[in-house]
Amino acid sequence: MTTPNPLSRRLFLQRAAVGTLLATGGSTLLAACAGSGSNDNGSNTGGGTKSADNPFGMADKATVEAIIFNGGYGYDYVTFAADIAQKKHAGSTFKVSPSTQIAQQLQPRFVGGNPPDLIDNSGANQIGFNTILDQLAPLDDVFEANNYEGTKIADTLYPGAKIPGTFDGKFIAMNYVLTLYGLWYSDSLFKENGWEPPKTYDALLDLGAKAKAKGKYLFVWGKEAATYYHTMAVDGAIKEGGDEVRLGLENLKENVWSMPQFQGIFKALETMVKNGYFVPGGAGTQFTAAQAKWSNDQQAILYPSGSWIENEMKKATKAGFNMKGIPEPTLTDAPKLPYESLRSAAGEPFIVPAKGKNLAGGKELLRAMLSKEAATNFAKTRLAPTIVKGLVPADGFGSTALQSQSAMLDAAGTNIFDYQVFGLYGMNTDQLVVWNSFLSGQIDAAGLTKGLQQITDKVRNDSSVKKIPVTK
């Protein structure tokens, strides 16, 4: 009658807890190592046979998955290219999906070893290149292949097309859209007032005074884009001092920001801030709203930006604005690189992960994008040239900004430079803070120098950040 209870409720709970802890503890350990799964070298070339029509050996009836950053340029230009590729490879499926959260969305897929076949790694949430370098396939063979018209792709591109996508000597990102940095203005407004587009910082200061007399400002900035002035200053300093300045920046040299080229420009900018040549309140203004004060309200007369600006402000540009661009100003009128030289680099980096299911398919889609048809479609609909040269007609599809881009590129010739240091080490967020303070007058040129140097020093002294030396 007295069966002793072998398992009291409390004991049961204890045992249950221990049991589950053990069970899940094991899985925790497994999960903790989940990061280290799938190390197999999945460089499946596609399984098809290579031929002139199929240079990467994409398999028949394969599926290609592309994730495209859906930003200022949209993503339908890739869909357009995918349709062309689809026609060439009947039976295969090219799936193009948009994303604005590249890093967040693709991070688990990189860890899990099943990334998509093609990625447009762009936008504010792009994946830092130094974190995924060794997981990307080299793209040299894409440029060696023939395009859909039968010409070798390398011969159809602007010179230096490989440079912005080459890290540590490895060409792993194909930057599709040709971007150049300049100073943009309304030709009609300048003509009306008899203003000359300024070539030096002295001329900028003069123009600032003239604009103020007319109740206008020289510049405007927005909080997320304060570093456009950083780009303008850095490019001006590089033109002024040549490779010495550029390599100093790229290799995170000590006291690089104290170089006279930077100091001269920072001082001139400081004067502009003090004289009230900037539309006040930029540090609290969203950047496209700030840009509209230049393109629509014409409160400010100049804006430093990349050539995407026309497309970005398309809907907020005053009728008859006649947007034109000029190279960024230099400190003196005798800079080391000629005034006409440009920072130009292709943007929108497309990458093919080495572990993608269909490596060849990803490359094939790139080949389709570089075809004359797809590249022309892009230039025409986005009013921006791709790295495929000679596709923008003289009338720039009716856009004055595009015309001036072609003119600037022609004038620059081979005097084209670029640098990657700030994007490579993800320094933009920190620099924004310093530049917002500087442009709103809270710190002076010395404070700006100190702030920028600290950011550079922090990266240099952080042993956990892999440095990529630049020698040329």
Binding site: A16, I127, T285
Partner: protein
């Protein structure tokens, strides 16, 4: 043969004999497995194990995008405490966790008092006239998602085109023309705090209203007969009686303030002027996704969790030291 005591209804004098356990049948075991084992397993797998994982990751140099990682011990933590930007974020979070809950609780308690016991001085205890209307109005902000609140206020604070600038210049405060509320280091943090408080007051008001409604109205009537004014009633009666609710509200608000990610990301995605509104989760986010340092950012997450627990501990301790425990004992004893 004996008759079990349990069989005697009402219990005999030997009632203190321990009740015998029912035998462990299949029914009972399966019941325990389903209703105890399963939830426990789910909890451990989805709640406890990620914590353990986070601890592990925080001691590696994992980039977040690769499959490999190296164990680096406490290097990440050492680095954290030398990272001026992260320390700035910690300070901002602490400031938020102090100011936002206090102001929110004071405001919502005031409003709750007004709409429940702040009404006419004669007759039954009641709130202001149209109390229901005020209650609904002040609850509105809570219905709007935090991200929307952030975006709306970012527009309000925009220099020159924002409503705030326009309103201030209209009434003659010309010095605020084109003033970048979110762009000046002096005002960015107060402005952001204001938005958070604006978004939270309504909910905590409703919480306090419910608590006050739970108090026997006779207590208030007695106080009134003794000659206590409304303010005295609120301070000496309401607050002590709903002390537990206030403590809970303080902890919830504090946790919200230690997070604050949504508001800050909407108002000042870059961390604000001189990083004056940067909070830990924002720094964690950029470190993980744009700098590709998941190990380091996980360490930030662990610190954030530690700070949150420390905060809760401090609130409990302060409450206990200032007499909260005696109060509860008294209540239980009653």
């Amino acid at each position: 043969m004996t008759v079990t005591h349990e069989a005697v209804p009402g219990g005999g004098p030997k009632r203190s004999v321990p009740r015998r356990r029912r035998p462990l049948t299949f029914d009972r075991v399966s019941f325990m497995v389903v209703f105890l084992g399963l939830p426990l397993a789910v909890f451990v797998i989805f709640v406890v194990s990620p914590f353990a994982q986070a601890l592990w990751y925080s001691m590696t140099d994992w980039s977040g995008f690769s499959s490999g990682m190296n164990f680096v011990g406490f290097d990440n933590y050492v680095k954290l405490f030398h990272d001026d930007i992260f320390l700035k974020a910690v300070r901002n979070n602490v400031l938020l966790a102090i100011v936002v809950p206090i102001v929110t609780i004071v405001l919502s308690l005031t409003l709750a008092t007004l709409v429940t016991i702040g009404g006419s001085g004669t007759g039954t205890i009641r709130g202001l006239r149209n109390a229901g209307f005020y209650r609904i109005i002040s609850f509105f902000p809570y219905v709007i998602p935090a991200i929307v609140i952030g975006l709306i206020w970012a527009q309000v604070f925009t220099p020159s085109s924002g409503i705030l600038d326009a309103a201030l210049s209209k009434i003659g405060l010309e010095q605020f023309k084109d003033y970048a509320w979110l762009g000046e280091a002096k005002t960015a943090m107060p402005a952001s705090m204001f938005v958070m408080i604006w978004g939270a007051v309504g909910f905590y008001m409703v919480l306090f209203i419910a608590a006050i409604r739970g108090i026997d109205p006779e207590v208030f009537e007695a106080a009134r007969i003794d000659g206590a004014g409304r303010f005295r009633t609120a301070i000496s009666l309401t607050v002590p009686l709903i002390r537990d609710n206030v403590q809970t509200a303080y902890i919830y608000l504090g946790i919200a303030a230690l997070d604050a990610f949504v508001y800050m990301q909407a108002l000042n995605p870059g961390g604000g002027p001189q990083n004056s509104t940067l909070v830990m989760p924002q720094q964690l986010f950029t470190t993980a996704f744009s700098k590709g340092q998941f190990g380091y950012s996980t360490a930030m997450g662990v610190v954030l969790a530690a700070v949150t627990m420390l905060f809760a501990l401090v609130v409990f301790t302060v409450n206990a030291l200032t007499g909260g425990r005696d109060q509860r004992k008294a209540k239980v004893g009653r």
